[in-house]
Each structure stands twice: as C-alpha cells, then as structure tokens.
C-alpha cells in the first residue's frame, strides 16, 4: 500500500472531521481548518511528507459558501508520493486558516501570495504582507468579483502621484480577453484575438 493511502487511513481514524476528497490524480483529503495544523504536522512527522510543494487558494464564486478554500500539496521525499489537503474557510467575508509557516518556513511566501490575491488570512503568520501587489492596494485581484481589467486606484507613491497626475486605470480591453486557438497549423488563424470583436472601449459591448 502506498504511503499516502496508509497515511490517509491513519489520519481519518485519528481526526473524524477529515474526509476523502474527489481527485483525479493524487490522494486528497478535506480537512476542517481547526484540525489543519495538527494534520499537517502529523503528515510531516509521522508519515514522511516532509516537503510542502504548494499552498494555494480557490475562490469558488461570490455566491458559494464556503467561498474560499486553501489547498496544500505535500510531497514525501522518502516514498515519492503526493497528497493534497483542502481546507474550506468557515467565514466567507473574512476567510482565515492557520499558518503552516511554523512547520515549513517555505510556506511563508506561498501564504503571503494567497493573502495578496484572495485576502485569505493565515493566523500565526510571522509577516502577513502583500507580496505581488503593493502595500496599501485596496483589492484582492484573483477574487471572482474583481474584473481582469482592474479597478481604478492610486499609484503607491504620493510624490510620483503628484508629479504624474495619473493612477492605476482599468486596462482597455479592446474587445478582449484575448484567446489563442490551440492546435491550429495556420499561425494567422491561431493568433490570439478577441472572442467577440463587435465591441471596443469606443463601442460598448452589445447587451450591457
């Protein structure tokens, strides 16, 4: 029996809140946020899953509840197995899970990115700041209710703002988003282009 399945059976016995999760590849578990840190440390200490390869966030939709899920991928350098853990955040307005950075220092920047993009807070994180967008940026760009073009905001630097009199604008989409046709032999046809070219920023999108 692979180490991952072994570990999963042991975890489910120990924490009744841990449930199997549908997965097409690696064994996966749903874990309640309250048990998350204990489950992660048990996987690390008792089952050889010593490497945290990824921490990421999911926003299912504005209407969904639970809306936010944090996903962890662990790898065992001994048995060369992956296992995936998913923790649904209980609060949709202020999503929060415990930080794994006490177990793996590498979780630090992964969690900062998930916080930056989704606004998921990681309790116990040593330095939970934005990592990609600038400090003070008011939105969480990968949330479903955030438009790809962005929302008009101010530039971070007050002096530069005063000097240039410009800010972050909603990007002109020109009929975008742009999609390429995969598998086209003819490169002219495969070129990325707007799905619907009937509207631009000068001609409004029909039916809106």
């Amino acid at each position: 029996m692979p180490a991952a399945l072994d570990a999963i059976a042991a975890l489910k016995g120990k924490w009744p809140g841990v449930k199997d999760r549908a997965s097409l590849d690696h064994p996966a578990l749903d874990v309640p946020p309250a048990d998350l840190l204990a489950v992660l440390s048990s996987l690390k200490a008792d089952h050889g899953f010593d490497m945290l390869t990824d921490v990421s966030g999911v926003d299912w939709s504005v209407a969904a509840s639970p809306r936010f899920t944090v996903v962890y991928h662990l790898f065992s350098t001994a048995s060369h197995d992956y296992v995936r853990l998913a923790a649904d955040c209980a609060d949709d307005a202020a999503p929060e899970v415990p930080s794994a950075s006490s177990l793996w220092p590498g979780a630090d920047w992964h969690e900062r990115e998930a916080f930056d993009m989704f606004g998921i807070r990681f309790a116990g994180h040593p330095d939970l700041r934005r990592i990609l967008m600038w400090d003070g940026y008011p939105y969480f760009p990968l949330r479903k209710d955030f438009p790809l073009a962005g929302i008009e905001t101010e530039l971070p630097d007050a002096e530069v703002r005063a000097e240039t009199k410009t800010g972050a604008i909603a990007a002109p989409m020109m009929g975008g988003p742009f999609v390429a046709s995969p598998g086209e032999i003819n490169l002219t046809d495969a070129e990325p282009r707007a799905k619907d070219e009937s509207w631009t920023e000068r001609r409004p999108k029909p039916g809106t």
């Binding site: 073009a149 530069v160 972050a168």
Partner: protein, 169 residues
Amino acid sequence: MVSANSELTYNSKIEGEVIVSRADAVINWIRSSSMWPMPMGLACCAIELMATAASRFDIARFGAEVMRFSPKQSDVMIVAGTVTYKMASPLRRIYDQMSEPKWVIAMGACASTGGMYRSYAVLQGVDRIVPVDVYVSGCPPRPEALLDALIKLQGKVKREPSASKLLSA
C-alpha cells in the same frame, strides 16, 4: 553664381586655428555621439537590450555602450520590458534622478502600450508616467530595431535648440 561649399574638411590655410560653427551643432554633436543608456531592463526585452550591447550588434558603434546603472550618469533611459504599477513609481523616481538633458526610449510592446498585458497589474504604456522620445515596436524588438531607435533619437537630439535652452535655463 554662388555654389555650395562642398569642401567638408578643415582647411588650416584659410581658417588657421579657428573653427566656426553653430553652438547648437557642436552641443548636439557632443550629446548625440555619446548617449549613455540607463538600462531599465524589466522583462524579456532586456535580453535583446543585452544582445544589442554585445559583440554581434555592438551598440558602441553609435557611442551608447556605456550602460550606467546610476541615473546620475546616464542620458537615455531604455525602458525594456513590462512596467507593472508596482515598478512604475521606482521608474519615475529613477527618471527624476537623471540629470538634464535626458531622453527615454520605450522598447517593445509592453513599455509602449502595456502590450499583451491588459490587466490590473500592468501600466498601460510607460508614456503615462515619463515623456517618451522614441517607441520601438516588437515583442521583443530585434537588436537592429533598438539600434534604429537610437539612431532616430540621435537625429532628434541633433535638431534640438540646445543653445537657446541652455541660455534660457
């Protein structure tokens, strides 16, 4: 009949040790012959910028081989790559730190217009925060295109009313 003076060389017998020229011509000749670039390499265009400086394309032929990583010592900022909003403020600060006279080349689609990045994170053209003199198309442009932009900029510098600007400053 007045014929054009086609003799371009310095004739020491006639002119002695004096050369007469326009101040603009002399100043602009000096400025355009040694434009020290500030390499603002932000994305893949920077690789082409490096290639432009390397032996095959050799930007030294046009007097611009001295890449200065100090804004105080550079004349032309080559914005090579995608400018994110987070980078926009440092970029403007570096431009402000460059001493006059200064010029800007927007190299490639991203620096010129935001390029393919129609997104919340990317400045839609560096001309929104700094005045651009020459835009280079391409994604990324070939080194020849950047050299062409440099030659175009030199042409522009040679037409500037430098002397009157210096006197009025």
